[in-house]
């Protein structure tokens, strides 16, 4: 069938005529629902004020004037904006910009997204010869929004030899990418482990002098690559302006992350298998560190206690079984149950944990401020209406002592089963 839209004047007429007996039916068929606005026969917009808004939870009519609502449908929010973003596909790129994101915890970090934003700037600078952004991702990941972060091509390498700390094997993989596609730019996050290290290894192997600690990139017709960069040097005390080299290690916030377009993130496959490297570095795995010795501000996993903790021995036991660093609300500290250096919040420590469990903490604003950067917050509380529940990604309503006890039992059970199986 032809893809041309076909008009049915009679249907349109019925849709315009709200007194027509089949008006509702036709509107539904046209997929407009019961509209409150429609173009009249003379091109004027007609409105039915009785159809505007929806009935709120307390039986009162509410009107949402954002324009996202039509008709008297239930107060459904508009479709997520993501779907409206235009999909950009670059079939035959003029060149490639390779990015190796860190993917800490299996997701794109803020630093990675900034870097992809920078890669997009480099790739899209010349509309006549547009480049594509190639992301090289090592290991398994949980990220589903690679396309929205600006990735056109994705090379996902997940073989056992590059798992864990395997800089030599990963370097071998990057060299294969270099030989296969010769990207015009290599961008890596200048982070402590991961990008910062891999990028320096790559530069040393390729014999290119990279720029490190880049925080600004500007177009500059005079330089060889067409770009000029500003990089931090001498432990952050100097600014070095220089032409952007092929291999660039950039700091966080070096560019704005991609927000307006969506990209294909099409999977690529390496044309040849990874070279087998004889590794001289052997990864013996992570060492268990005493969580109590980790500074609160950089702990990854915190079990924080508030005024709702009744059994303090059980709480300390739970923290040690879970392997979590202990934190506390101000009340718990003031009452003398916890030391002062464990206080989280405005007058305590600002924590950056990936997972934060708040046990019996009501979520006063002074406390919530301190946990702003935390990724996942779990609340255990008796009161389903408190502010901590609103902040939490998962909230369990119940008595803290019982829930902690159950959690400890489950975890120890799971550990024992694992030990028996091994």
């Amino acid at each position: 069938m032809s893809q041309l839209p076909r008009r049915d004047p009679r249907q349109e007429w019925i849709a315009r005529n709200r007194l027509h007996p089949r008006h509702e039916e036709v509107l539904a068929a046209l997929g407009q629902g019961a509209t409150s606005e429609w173009p009249g026969p003379n091109g004027l917009v007609r409105k039915n004020p009785h159809r505007v808004g929806f009935i709120g939870p307390n039986g009162i009519k509410r009107i949402d004037r954002s324009g996202t609502q039509q008709g008297a449908g239930g107060g459904k929010a508009s479709a997520p904006v993501a779907e409206h973003k235009p999909l950009t596909e670059i079939a035959e790129p003029a060149f490639l910009v390779a990015v190796v994101p860190d993917m800490a915890g299996g997701r794109l970090s803020g630093h990675d997204k900034d870097l992809l934003g920078l890669a997009r700037r480099l790739a899209d600078a010349d509309p006549a010869a547009q480049g594509a952004v190639l992301a090289v991702v090592f290991g398994s990941h949980k990220e589903t929004n690679l396309g929205e972060a600006g990735v056109d091509r994705l090379l996902h390498l997940d073989s056992p030899e590059i798992a864990g700390y395997a800089p030599e094997a990963r370097l071998g993989a990057l060299i294969t990418v270099e030989q296969a596609w010769t990207p015009r730019h290599w961008l890596l996050p200048d982070s402590k482990l991961g990008g910062g290290e891999l990028g320096r290894r790559l530069a040393a192997r390729l014999g290119e002098r990279p720029a490190t600690g880049i925080w600004q990139v500007e177009a500059d017709a005079e330089s060889a690559t067409g770009w000029q960069c500003t990089a931090r040097g001498a432990a952050g005390s100097l600014d070095i302006r220089r032409p952007l080299p092929r291999i660039a290690l950039a700091l966080a916030e070096c560019a704005e992350p991609v927000s307006e377009t969506r990209h294909a993130a099409a999977e690529l496959v390496l044309p040849q298998p990874l070279p087998s490297t004889l590794s001289r570095i052997q990864d013996l795995g992570q060492v268990s560190v005493d969580p109590a010795s980790v500074a609160l501000s950089e702990a990854e996993f915190i079990l924080a206690a508030g005024n709702g903790v009744r059994d303090w021995d059980a709480y300390h036991r739970a923290a040690s079984v879970l392997g979590a660093t202990e934190g506390a609300s101000r009340v718990a500290v003031d009452e003398g149950y916890m030391p002062r250096d464990r206080q989280v919040g405005a007058t305590g420590t600002w924590v950056t944990a990936r997972v934060y469990i708040a046990v019996g903490i009501s979520g006063a604003i002074q406390h919530l401020q301190g946990i702003q950067p935390c990724e996942k917050v779990i609340a255990i509380n008796m009161d389903p209406s408190c502010d901590m529940i609103k902040r939490a990604d998962l909230a369990v309503i119940g008595d803290s002592t019982q829930i902690l006890e159950a959690l400890v039992t489950l975890v120890s059970q799971a550990r024992e089963e694992k030990r028996d199986a091994a």
Partner: protein, 267 residues
């Protein structure tokens, strides 16, 4: 240095030391990470530690280098280089000649470009393995060293590496001891001339004191005024997570455990 004795062959360690810069006053000092590297080398059992520096020899740099001698050394090898020279050829030549088992460096220099590339270039040139961000050396046996690498968030990873190798130390390595005045005065700087290679590229770059970086503005991209207002007035609130009411403690604990497993924080 003594040649290998007939008894247990000592572990030969070379620490590359550089001249640091105090972050506030800008005064010349011993570099913090290099001093940590020296401290790490001192803590190794029967190691013969040698200090090596390539660079200018003048009054202020001598004061900084004597800071390392004050950590209990009688001499420091100094390869003279003009200011702004690329020290890589000189260092790799010296390391080739002495062939130590372990080379310890800091992560990046406190002056100059400070790109942190030197250890990587040395490793590439000498063909040795490199491990970065070290917190401790646990043991050295049969040509293999067991190391502890510092990970973000206070975590540690154990690695085994074949010697000879280059390692860089992290800020998590042991804090360096005070430099004692007497040994610092008594120690000698063994000066030698080395291959000179000028860094021409560096001379062409514009270098200026760091300006503060602009703060990133919170840009709200919203189609309607209402959305922009909502974003501007938003409280730090989650997107509304899952709330489990009327569950038994065990069910609640199971839900928590699932999330902890998904986030991989349980060990």
């Amino acid at each position: 240095m003594q040649p290998e004795s007939a008894m247990t062959p000592a572990l030969e360690v070379t620490v590359l030391v550089s001249i640091g810069r105090h972050p506030l006053t800008g005064r010349v000092r011993r570099a913090d990470q290099d001093a940590r590297g020296v401290e790490l080398a001192r803590s190794l059992a029967d190691a013969e530690v040698r200090l090596l520096h390539a660079g200018e020899c003048n009054e202020s740099s001598e004061a900084a280098l004597r800071g390392y001698l004050g950590m209990g050394f009688s001499e420091l090898a100094l390869i003279e280089q003009p200011e702004g020279a690329d020290v890589l050829p000189a260092l790799s030549e010296a390391l080739d000649a002495t062939s130590p088992h372990l080379v310890i460096t800091g992560e990046r220099a406190e002056r100059g470009e400070g790109s942190g590339l030197l250890p990587y270039l040395l490793a590439e040139r000498l063909g040795w393995p490199l491990v970065s961000g070290l917190a401790a050396v646990e043991s050295v046996e049969d040509g293999m060293a067991t190391l502890l690498q510092a990970l973000p968030r206070g975590q540690r990873r154990r690695l085994k590496i074949r010697l000879p190798a280059i390692v860089t130390v992290d800020d998590a390595a042991p804090t360096p001891r005070q430099s004692a005045y007497g040994p610092a005065r008594r120690g000698t700087l063994e000066t030698s001339a080395g291959e000179v290679c000028n860094d021409d590229e560096w001379a062409t770059w514009q270098v200026q004191p760091a300006r503060p970086r602009p703060k990133r503005l919170k840009i709200v991209k919203a189609a309607s005024a209402r959305d922009r207002f909502k974003a501007a007035a938003a409280k730090a609130e989650g997107t509304g997570g899952q709330v489990l009411t009327d569950v038994t403690p065990t069910q609640g604990a199971e839900a928590i455990l699932t999330l902890l497993r998904d986030e991989e924080v349980l060990r």
